[in-house]
């Protein structure tokens, strides 16, 4: 009964019979809670750390992705422009080829003319020999 009166007065005895103001159970629970809270905080900290790492990683990944994306776009553009460049180059080469073709045609005509001259001269020589 005394216990109860004591408890009513807000005094308690713990197992070691020390006088306590707080109910030992409560105290114990509090301590446990405290413990748990600490653990929780620790866990949260860990979690934050992990998440931070994750975010960092994702950020990094994003950056890399962005980079790659830009690179891809650049490459795609380059590809497009190369196609155009090739076209221009092709055009230039074609112009040069046309030029060479014209030159070739000129040479062909000259060659034909020379062949004709050669034939004429051979004929002339033959005739000359025959008549002699």
């Amino acid at each position: 009964m005394a216990k109860d009166s004591l408890s009513e007065a807000g005094l308690h005895f713990d197992d070691l019979n020390k006088l306590r103001i707080l109910d030992p159970d409560v105290s114990q629970q509090t301590t446990e809670l405290k413990e748990e809270c600490r653990e929780f905080v620790e866990k949260i900290d860990d979690f934050q750390k992990i998440v931070g790492g994750l975010i960092e990683l994702v950020d990094q990944l994003a950056k890399e992705t962005e980079n790659e994306k830009m690179k891809a776009i650049g490459a795609r553009n380059l590809l497009k422009s190369i196609a155009k460049q090739r076209e221009a180059q092709q055009q230039q080469l074609q112009a040069l080829i046309a030029e060479k073709k014209m030159q070739l045609e000129r040479y062909r005509i000259e060659y034909e003319a020379l062949c004709k001259v050669e034939a004429e001269q051979n004929e002339f020589i033959d005739q000359f020999i025959l008549q002699k």
């Binding site: 221009a88 055009q91 230039q92 112009a95 040069l96 030029e99 014209m102 045609e105 000129r106 040479y107 062909r108 005509i109 000259e110 003319a113 020379l114 004709k116 001259v117 004429e120 001269q121 002339f124 008549q131």
Partner: protein, 803 residues
């Protein structure tokens, strides 16, 4: 031929370059939208800033004041004009000081050009005005006002006309206000650039329809290019008028004056806004859209003569190839090669300071010259090519080299110099007031003894000079033709006294005329029409040309002077359609003619070798051999040539054989009768008569005192009045004339109406017996005079007795 281009790695201008201009052969000024005027020294490769223009001045066109103006021969031009987008033009000194800025147009000034003597400047503006300014920048006149901007402008060769484009039209407007304006539609797009060459008088135009075109000064189209990928932004004639350059986006082209393209370059330049040739014509500079200035050298020019091929491999090196043995020689020069010519076994090369003469081992190329150097032929050619003769040039700006068998002519600056192949200066003919810088191979001609020249100031005149003394021939008067002469050429063979000049006039008629006129005026004889190009053989007097699309060879043009009817028989013609439109004869060496077609390809053709051999026989007076050859060949042309040559040289027996061979019986008979004439003078006179020179014939007889023969000559030609005049003047044979006149009138059943004859008929009795006796007496007298000559029996003394 091709262009060797050079571009710096980094552009010197920060913005596009709009214009360039040469001061000398190695110094260029350029300016662009970064307001800088840069000077490019090509000798040391340095580029320096001359001046930076104000920030609001965007230059568009640059042109140097012409050098060699007036008496000031030497020295470089020291001033240039820049036109700019703010409607001004600026006169700027060589050091970059802006001497004067003049408000010229509203809107940009798109072009500015000095005329050739530097007395006037023409500007063209965005406002469509064309304005003429004095040298100091005072407005003289507004030549034209148009509704469209004028992008370019060019002076005519004589600085009397101005060419400019308006939209798609080209307009040639003379400075004289009342003169006719020539205008034609030239392109399908806006015309961006024009140029007009003073040497060949041809016009270039280029436009946004991506084509460039060549025109003559009458507006006839000579060439039109195929369509390019981009608009043609610039065209420019080389100073000598043989080549031109064309610029477009990433494109630089080198073309022949007939339009076909020698070479195409695709440099990384952007659009080439302006092209300018250096003063010696060896390189071209272009103002590029990406801030570069491109330089392009003309290399790999090619010369051919017989078995030698010469190629300019580098600026200072040539390669000589003997195609017979494939021997190759390299020729090196101290300076840049400007002009070269290979003919008659000699290669003449001019650099900026010196003239080199190389001699090939083939020295003799005539048929019958003794060839003591036969042994030499086996020697390596190298020996000859490596020992050139070198001498210093007087001015060092050779614009033309012409060669003949014994000497060569250099047009150097303001003068002409004739050198022997040993390098000795022979003469330097001078025409006062002649512009030598516009002479070309069509307007100057050279033979061993004569130089002929045509001046721009009066194109009807041909100046003739003795080659050895450099003095004008004869009385010093130039040969005058009825209308403008386009092309002249001297023949190369035969003695100096028989030198002939062939020329083509504006109507494309071909004439031949003697160069050394003895005494009376010798008429030019027309021997062809519609002749587009012509050339004499390098050795014998054979002329070839393209006559109205037919390739024609005049084997003996001199026939026009001895027997004009024979002319068609001495000509050989063949179809020239294989040469296409407007071909040019490049060379006529021996019996090989080389023709360049309008597409640039060379076509070779051989002509019959026999006439040339006959020419040589006749030069050596080997008549029998000539006749034998003709019998062997059995060709009408050779016989006809021989006949004409025999008449020219008064070898009547050969003439008789030749005329008989071509079936000209009437002429054979006449020749026979000439052979029977009693005196030398009569024979000479009748040979002259044979060639149609009546006056010469009469003069010869009269000079010999054969009055009766002269009278008879006139009677035979029904030249009654002259016959009577002679008879009365010499108081002899009046009755003879009257008797023949009577007979003639009786034959025709006509009455005498001529007063003089009526008057003399009154006092004279016609007695045929007496007349016959008198004639017989005259003939006896003539025979006695000429009794020294063994003439053989002659019954008829004059053909007149056949009446």
């Amino acid at each position: 031929m091709r262009l060797k281009t050079s571009l710096l790695k980094e552009p010197k201008h920060k913005e596009l370059v709009s214009c360039v201009g040469w001061t000398s052969a190695d110094e260029l000024y350029s300016c662009g939208d970064d307001h800088q005027i840069l000077k490019w020294n090509l000798l040391n490769g340095e580029t320096s800033l001359v001046v930076k223009l104000p920030d609001d001045t965007y230059p568009i066109d640059l042109h140097w004041f012409p050098k060699n103006v007036g008496s000031k021969k030497q020295g470089q031009s020291d001033m240039f004009v820049i036109t700019s987008s703010d409607g001004k033009f600026h006169l700027i000194s060589k050091l970059g000081r802006v001497e004067k800025s003049v408000d010229a147009h509203s809107g940009a000034v798109l072009a500015g050009r000095w005329n050739y003597d530097g007395t006037a400047l023409v500007t063209a503006g965005e406002d469509g005005h064309i304005k003429i300014w004095s040298k100091s920048g005072m407005l003289r006149s507004t030549l034209a006002q148009n509704g469209l901007p004028v992008y370019s402008v060019a002076w005519g060769p004589d600085s009397e006309k101005v060419l400019y484009p308006v939209g798609k039209q080209l307009i040639i407007k003379p400075l004289q206000p009342s003169s006719k304006v020539l205008q034609w539609k030239a392109h399908e797009g806006v015309i961006l650039k024009v140029d007009w060459n003073p040497v060949n008088d041809l016009i270039l135009s280029a436009g946004e329809d991506c084509k460039y075109k060549v025109w003559d000064s009458y507006g006839r189209a000579l060439y039109s290019s195929t369509s390019h990928e981009y608009p043609i932004t610039s065209v420019s004639w080389a100073p000598d008028g043989d080549l031109f350059a064309v610029g477009s986006f990433h494109t630089l082209r080198l073309c022949d004056k007939t339009g076909w393209s020698y070479a195409l370059e695709k440099p990384n330049t952007g659009s080439i806004f302006s092209l300018t040739w250096s003063i010696d014509g060896t390189q071209v500079a272009g103002a590029c859209g990406n801030g570069h200035v491109i330089f392009a050298h003309v290399i790999e020019q090619h010369w051919e003569w017989k078995n030698f091929e010469v190629t300019l491999t580098k600026r200072r090196a040539m390669q000589v190839r003997n195609v017979i043995n494939d021997a190759v020689d390299l020729l090196e020069f101290r300076d840049r090669v400007i002009k070269a010519s290979l003919k008659y076994g000699h290669l003449v090369v001019s650099t900026s300071l010196q003239c080199y003469v190389f001699r090939s081992s083939v020295i003799s190329f005539r048929y019958f010259e003794p060839k003591p150097d036969v042994v030499e032929h086996t020697e390596p050619v190298t020996k000859n090519w490596n020992t050139p003769l070198i001498f210093d040039l007087k001015e060092g700006t050779v614009s033309l080299i012409l060669q003949c068998e014994r000497h060569f002519l250099l047009v150097d600056g303001g003068s002409l110099f004739l050198y022997s192949y040993e390098g000795r200066l022979i003469s330097s003919p001078k025409v006062p007031g002649m512009r030598t810088d516009i002479l070309n191979a069509q307007t100057v001609s050279l033979s061993n003894d004569t130089i002929a020249m045509k001046d721009k100031t009066d194109e009807k005149l041909i100046y003739l000079f003795d080659a050895l003394s450099g003095k004008p021939l004869g009385d010093g008067k130039p040969l005058a033709h009825k209308i403008e002469v386009v092309e002249i050429a001297l023949d190369q063979g035969g003695p100096a006294i028989e030198r002939k000049i062939a020329f083509v006039d504006k109507n494309r008629d071909l004439y031949i005329s003697t160069v050394r006129r003895l005494g009376k005026e010798q008429k030019a004889v027309k021997i062809g029409s519609m002749v587009h190009t012509l050339a004499w053989s390098d050795l014998s007097n054979i002329l070839c040309g393209i006559q109205d699309n037919r390739f024609t060879v005049w084997y003996y043009p001199n026939v026009a002077y001895v027997d004009k009817e024979l002319l068609p028989k001495t000509i050989s013609e063949k179809d020239g359609s294989e040469y296409t439109k407007s071909p040019q004869i490049v060379s006529f060496v021996g019996n090989r003619v080389t023709i360049r077609r309008s597409d640039g390809s060379l076509v070779h053709t051989n002509i019959s070798p026999y006439p040339a051999i006959i020419h040589d026989y006749i030069t050596a007076s080997k008549w029998d051999e000539a006749v034998r050859l003709c019998r062997f060949v059995k060709e009408q042309t050779t016989w006809a040539c021989l006949a004409a040559m025999a008449i020219t040289n008064k070898d009547m027996s050969t003439a008789e054989i030749a005329y008989a061979a071509i079936g000209e019986i009437d002429k054979v008979q006449y020749i026979n009768s000439i052979k029977d004439l009693p005196s030398k003078e009569s024979r000479l006179a009748h040979i002259q008569l044979f060639s149609g020179n009546f006056q010469d014939a009469e003069a010869i007889i009269l000079q010999a005192g054969l009055i009766y023969q002269a009278i008879q000559l006139n009677i035979d030609s029904y030249n009654w009045e002259r016959a009577l005049e002679l008879a009365v003047k010499h108081k002899t044979h009046v009755d003879t004339v009257l008797a023949y006149r009577q007979k003639y009138l009786n034959d025709l059943n006509k009455k005498e109406t001529n007063k003089r004859f009526l008057q003399y008929a009154e006092g004279v009795e016609v007695d045929w017996e007496k007349i016959r006796a008198k004639i017989e007496l005259e003939l006896v007298k003539e025979r006695e005079r000429a009794s020294t000559g063994p003439l053989g029996p002659s019954t008829r003394s004059s053909i007149s007795l056949q009446h």
